[in-house]
């Protein structure tokens, strides 16, 4: 029994690590859906581009022999800043050129466009950057000592992922629920037309929404790279689908729901894979989605609304 509890605790910790990455990316889906009611299919690929930007910074600042040219924390910080800025701008660019012209078109048009943008990003990275996985030289950047808490092992890279993700989510939560701009965002999400009448610059809100969501995805890409020491052009596909699943489980459009949904999904997947079978690990995520949609179609945190999905 004690052995079982130890194992359970380890899977739980593993799940929180995986889940915090899902949550970070799920936020981008949910923020955009909340305001535009569109599924930004390209979001997973913005995460991928963030991962490559981080890998690029590490490639420049860590020599082939594995020596960091600047102090390690500074390199990690630079990776994060570059990836967040790059991914954020990419998100804003996608909104400006691919989605804004279609804002008043029928709902299918932006969805198809988003699929197109997603494939475009993947192809560009595959052809112009690398068709094969690219190594992120993480060893000189992250201490290699293993942290042991009781019987549970936590690699420092996983701890970094968890702490940074939770800190960013807490900051985002404060931003949305305790600032003027945040309340303008919530107002726009509730009723775009009414928000315009109240003097809110809706275009600006939408740009900032894409900026925040994409920057979070960029950060996710860096944390992924540091943890798994590899990035590839298709990494945004499955992770994007899982993060979207997390957003739906939490109640799409609901920021706190996306965070909770991500963590729940990560934990379920790791418990399922750990105790049942690793061969079906990915299936547990989608099994959870089906169950949630059957029992609570609006998601864990969502409000039932007649006119919304």
């Amino acid at each position: 029994m004690e052995h079982f509890l130890g194992l359970f605790a380890q899977y739980l910790v593993n799940g929180l690590e995986t889940g915090s990455l899902y949550a970070l990316i799920a936020l981008g889906y949910t923020l955009v859906y909340g305001i535009l009611e569109m599924l930004n299919f390209a979001h997973g690929d913005v995460f991928m581009v963030g991962g490559f930007l981080g890998a690029g910074v590490a490639g420049v600042l860590v020599s082939q022999s594995g020596v960091a040219l600047l102090p390690a924390p500074l390199v990690v910080l630079l990776m994060m800043v570059v990836a967040m800025a790059g991914a954020g701008l990419l998100g804003v660019g996608i909104e400006r050129f691919a989605y804004r012209p279609l804002r008043n078109a029928n709902r299918l048009a932006p969805l198809i466009t988003a699929v197109g943008v997603s494939l475009l990003l993947e192809s560009v990275v595959q052809v112009q950057v690398s068709p094969a996985p690219v190594t992120v030289r993480s060893d000189p950047l992250i201490p290699l000592t293993v942290l042991r808490l009781g019987g549970i092992t936590v690699p420092p890279s996983s701890l970094l992922l968890f702490v940074v993700a939770i800190a960013l989510m807490a900051a985002l939560d404060r931003f949305i629920f305790a600032t003027r701009f945040g309340s303008a965002m919530r107002a726009t999400a509730q009723d775009r037309e009414a928000a315009t009448f109240m003097g809110i610059d809706v275009d600006r809100i939408i740009v900032v929404t894409f900026l925040i969501g994409s920057a979070l995805a960029g950060m996710g890409g860096v944390l992924y790279g540091l943890q798994f020491a590899t990035v590839n052009f298709f990494m945004g596909y499955l992770l994007g689908i899982k993060a979207f699943t997390a957003a739906v489980i939490g109640g799409i459009g609901n920021v706190r729901g996306a965070m909770a949904g991500g963590l729940v999904l990560g934990v379920l997947e790791n418990l399922g894979g750990g105790f049942v079978s690793t061969a079906f690990q990915d299936s547990f995520a989608f099994l959870a989605l089906i169950l949630v949609l059957m029992l609570r179609p609006q998601g864990l945190f969502g409000q039932a609304q007649a006119d919304r999905a």
């Binding site: 990494m235 690793t278 990915d282």
Partner: protein, 398 residues
């Protein structure tokens, strides 16, 4: 207007055809064929480009060498490049082009077992059937289904499985974590190793896990390995998942070789895994169904030509199937050359029967196929990660 132009074109084409028939009618048995094409098929880009790209270089070199030596009675062989990206669906689309063109006489590849199994029926069903010689597809079903088009120069999984099991027993493994990557190739091989261990070394404890294709997050499997207390990890993988796996084993303190040992299968003796895993892969073992050309006397001039064409470090970067890809191309081209030429044409049916009956001189010695299309006398080679290279340390005969 348009209609009359089409009519004119048809008339010209008809004249041209008659003209052709007239001149080559005297070609006879040993004449010069009008056109000879072969195709190279494999994952030349995409997630398995690390095994495909180098194989393609070897095939291109083999065709070039063959053409320099005179081609088929003076006709230069042209090479079609079919990049299936490890997808049977893409492969079928590409193969349709060869199936409908009778001057495409054979395929070197496909490389992945899953792709071969998904497209064999199409190749066999072509009229006439389009023969293939794979350099790397080792799943037993490929030659066990009595498809006469199927040939391969690599060994079969059922030779590799027991050899890998034998190696684990030799190394006195006690608890083995056997992993597959959920593909036709991988699951079959992992099953073979598990079967060998349970019947030949019943005291060895085995735990099974499956990775997803392209997986990078190995949290759960690493915890499984820790909890099981494995002293060996056996991963029947084609390559790309290994680097993150060993990296994450190292991250929880399971370093190779002092805390755990690692044995992988073909694809995992790619030396780029050492740098991709930031050194975590050092001292790991890997087996392959084909030989490395490095250090083989009969392949020495191939290695020299390869290096002068593609660069000094090109052979070690070319992946595990560089030698067998050259070998497979040699076999196919010699079978084509030995086939009769009638009216400037070589028939695929003849190429296929030559493949079945002939013996072919290659960089690894003489190759002959048995009735199923498997090569006689294939061996399994054990490599180890040392420094920046994968070095052959042992040969196990099945």
């Amino acid at each position: 207007m348009i209609r009359s132009r089409i009519l004119a074109l048809t008339a010209v084409a008809g004249l041209a055809l008659t003209a052709c028939g007239g001149t080559t009618g005297t070609g006879g048995q040993s004449g010069k064929p009008d056109k000879v094409q072969i195709a190279a098929e494999g994952p030349f880009t995409g997630d398995e480009a690390s095994i495909g790209a180098g194989a393609l270089q070897a095939i291109q070199l083999a065709v070039e060498d063959f053409n320099k030596a005179g081609g088929v009675n003076g006709t230069q062989v042209s090479l079609l490049v079919w990049d299936d990206q490890h997808s049977a669906q893409t492969a079928a689309t590409l193969q349709a082009q060869g199936i409908s063109d009778p001057t495409v006489l054979g395929v070197v590849g496909p490389m992945n077992s899953g792709v071969v199994l998904g497209t064999l029926q199409g190749l066999q069903g072509a009229n006439p059937p389009l023969p293939m010689v794979s350099e790397s597809a080792s799943n037993v079903k490929i030659t066990d289904q009595s498809f006469s088009v199927a040939h391969r120069v690599c060994a079969r999984d059922d030779a590799q499985g027991p050899a890998d099991g034998k190696f684990l027993v030799e190394k006195k493994a006690t608890k083995v974590e056997i992993m597959d990557a959920k593909s036709d190739y991988s699951t079959a091989l992992a099953d073979q190793v598990a079967k060998y261990l349970s019947s030949n070394a019943p005291s060895v404890k085995v735990q099974r896990d499956s990775a997803q294709h392209g997986q990078t997050d190995f949290h759960t499997i690493v915890t499984h390995i820790q909890n099981f207390g494995a002293d060996w990890v056996y991963f029947a993988d084609e390559g790309p998942e290994v680097a993150p796996l060993v990296q994450q084993l190292k991250a929880v303190g399971l370093t190779i070789p002092d805390k755990i040992n690692f044995l992988g299968s073909d694809g995992t003796e790619d030396p780029s895994i050492i740098s991709a895993s930031q050194g975590a892969y050092l001292s790991a073992y890997s087996t392959n169904v084909t030989a490395s050309p490095i250090g083989v006397d009969t392949a020495a001039s191939f290695v020299t030509r390869f290096k002068s064409k593609y660069g000094a470090d090109s052979v070690s970067k070319a992946g595990p199937f560089v030698g067998s890809a050259y070998e497979a191309t040699q076999v196919l081209l010699q079978a084509i050359k030995a086939s009769p030429v009638n009216n400037g044409k070589i028939s695929r049916t003849d190429v296929q029967s030559r493949l079945g009956s002939g013996s072919f001189g290659t960089i690894f010695g003489t190759v002959k196929f048995d009735a199923k299309g498997d090569v006689a006398g294939g061996g399994i080679y054990v490599y180890q990660a040392k420094g920046t290279d994968m070095v052959v340390v042992e040969k196990i005969s099945g």
